[in-house]
């Protein structure tokens, strides 16, 4: 589903943020992406939905080489990818339900259906009672769950979640992770960037570890978690 061959990404003349990345994530897989702050996790995810373009190398999404995708093709790529942004990116002057429905409006879904689907997914993240509130009036964790709801609302083929539980308490973290596993079980390819060693230990999934722009290890569960804490 997501493949990278010798991918390098450099911003301006700085030393490259990502160097010679090779990876292959299968359709329907659930993968953790970890590594210290500034290692390049967010940048790697951005290459997949073309918020950034690779400086060198090939990025294949669903078998298509997105490095060659024209500007006008980007929207259609993005419609198949749900993204939980690390910095949320919620519109402060639209209600929670409208923010969640945004991804559906874009593909021309009728209004009632948009609201219906938005409310359904908000219920799954435990926020149906906040549907008509503006985001600045939500707590940090509530905002984070709105972003997760928005990423899931149009049943994307790929879900990229960047630090989706950074503002959630342990109980909610488990709930949200269970939701992501559930979505994954129904066929969505899921990539979760996280710092949380306990998640990696508990869910025992394939874990890619980035360090200063290169993939340094690939383990599962406790072993991966141990590497993190030692890191």
């Amino acid at each position: 589903m997501i493949q990278m061959f010798h991918v390098t990404k450099a911003f301006g003349n700085d030393p490259p943020t990502l160097m010679d990345i090779n990876l292959d994530i299968q359709k329907g897989e659930f993968v953790f992406l970890t590594g210290p702050s500034g290692a390049g996790k967010t940048t790697l995810l951005k290459l997949v939905f073309l918020a950034e373009r690779a400086t060198r190398g090939q990025v294949l999404v669903s078998g298509r080489n997105v490095a060659r995708l024209r500007e006008s093709g980007i929207p259609y790529l993005r419609r198949n990818i749900g993204v939980v942004f690390q910095d949320f990116k919620l519109l402060p002057n639209r209600s929670v339900a409208e923010n969640v429905g945004f991804a559906l409006d874009v593909i021309g879904t009728p209004r009632e259906l948009v609201r219906q689907k938005a409310l359904k997914i908000l219920k799954r993240v435990g926020l149906e009672h906040k549907a008509n509130v503006l985001p600045p009036k939500l707590s940090g964790g509530e905002q984070q769950r709105v972003v997760i709801a928005r990423a899931l609302v149009n049943d994307p083929a790929i879900l990229l979640a960047d630090e989706p539980t950074g503002n959630l308490d342990p109980a909610l973290t488990v709930e949200i992770m269970d939701l992501l596993c559930d979505v994954n079980a129904r066929g969505t390819t899921v990539v979760v960037a996280t710092h949380d060693a306990s998640l990696i230990e508990r869910y025992h999934k394939r874990t890619l570890r980035l360090e200063r722009g290169t993939l340094v290890s690939e383990e599962r569960g406790a072993k991966a978690a141990l590497l993190m804490v030692q890191g």
Binding site: S72, F102, V106, G108
Partner: protein
């Protein structure tokens, strides 16, 4: 799906104006100002035209006849002149001419009526139709008339006519220059304001694009907003112009009574309103097109 999108665009455009009225009020205000400027320039232009042709209406050609021209020849000439120029010809007897002159001269004139013999000749006055009111045709006409048998002299106030032409040209030029200045500068301000309005929503555009909106999808509500702004500002401008004209016209007429201005209501033609509407739409739309283009590279 198309219906859903259209409804979404309409809701987004109106919602955007409702949610953030501030920037839209500014955009509408500056558009309306540009339109009022345009309307004033149009009205002033029309007034100058009317004034010039009203003053031009006073352009007369006087043909002085030789002493001793027979009365029937005078009548003939009158008819011939009327036919030839397509204007109105009128014979003035020496007595009438002396009466006018003494009236014109005021205190000095009294002396004239005390003269024994009337020294003034017969003459024919021709009020010329519009197409002959320029200097060139007048000169040509005078040339031919001077060659006629009983004609002593031809007078057509060349001086006054030249001045009038110069004045009209000057006024037209001044109004065009003033209009161009107002228009260009307001266009700059309007498009800048619209850009600022969109600039203040670049976050929204960015997020739309991140969740898979095409450029066209992002653009549509802004263009719709631009059109709505254009329409609203045209309505505003029409009202403002109407108020201005209704308020100012009678006052101006009172002051400049001798220029015979038309009534306020006549100044605001339906045609002008339609022009304002179309111009408003075009400016709103093109302003948004320019502005959106600048901020769509996210």
């Amino acid at each position: 799906m198309i219906a859903a999108k259209a409804s979404y665009f309409a809701r987004t455009a109106l919602g955007g104006m409702w949610r953030d009225p501030f920037v839209h009020v500014i955009a509408i205000a500056s558009l309306a100002i540009a339109l009022v400027g345009f309307g004033l320039a149009r009205i002033a232009g029309a007034q100058i035209d009317a004034l010039v042709s009203a003053l031009g209406g006073e352009v007369e050609l006087t043909v002085y006849l030789k002493d001793g021209t027979p009365a029937e020849e005078v009548k003939k000439l009158e008819a011939a002149l009327a036919q030839r120029t397509g204007g109105v010809a009128r014979t003035v007897s020496p007595a009438e001419a002396l009466g006018r002159l003494s009236e014109q001269l005021g205190p000095q004139g009294q002396a004239l009526t005390e003269l024994g013999a009337n020294p003034l000749p017969w003459s024919v006055e021709v009020t010329l139709p519009p197409q002959l009111r320029d200097l060139a045709s007048l000169q040509a006409l005078a040339q031919t008339l001077r060659a006629l048998t009983f004609v002593e002299a031809v007078d057509y106030g060349a001086d006054a006519l030249e001045r009038l032409a110069a004045l009209s040209k000057g006024l037209k030029l001044a109004s065009v220059v003033a209009f161009a200045i107002v228009f260009l500068t307001t266009i700059v301000v309007v498009s800048a304001t619209l850009q600022l309005a969109i600039y203040s929503r670049r976050e929204e555009i960015e997020i739309q694009k991140l969740v898979g909106a095409t450029n066209r999808f992002v653009r549509a509500p802004f263009l719709l907003e631009g059109m709505v702004q254009g329409l609203l500002s045209a309505v505003l401008a029409t009202l403002a112009l109407w108020a201005l004209v209704t308020w100012a016209a009678p006052r101006a007429a009172g002051m400049l009574g001798f220029l015979a201005l038309p009534k306020g209501s006549q100044l605001m033609s339906t045609r002008l309103m339609v022009e304002l509407l179309l111009l408003g739409l075009a400016m709103g739309l093109s302003g948004s097109v320019v502005a959106v283009r600048r901020f769509l590279r996210v």
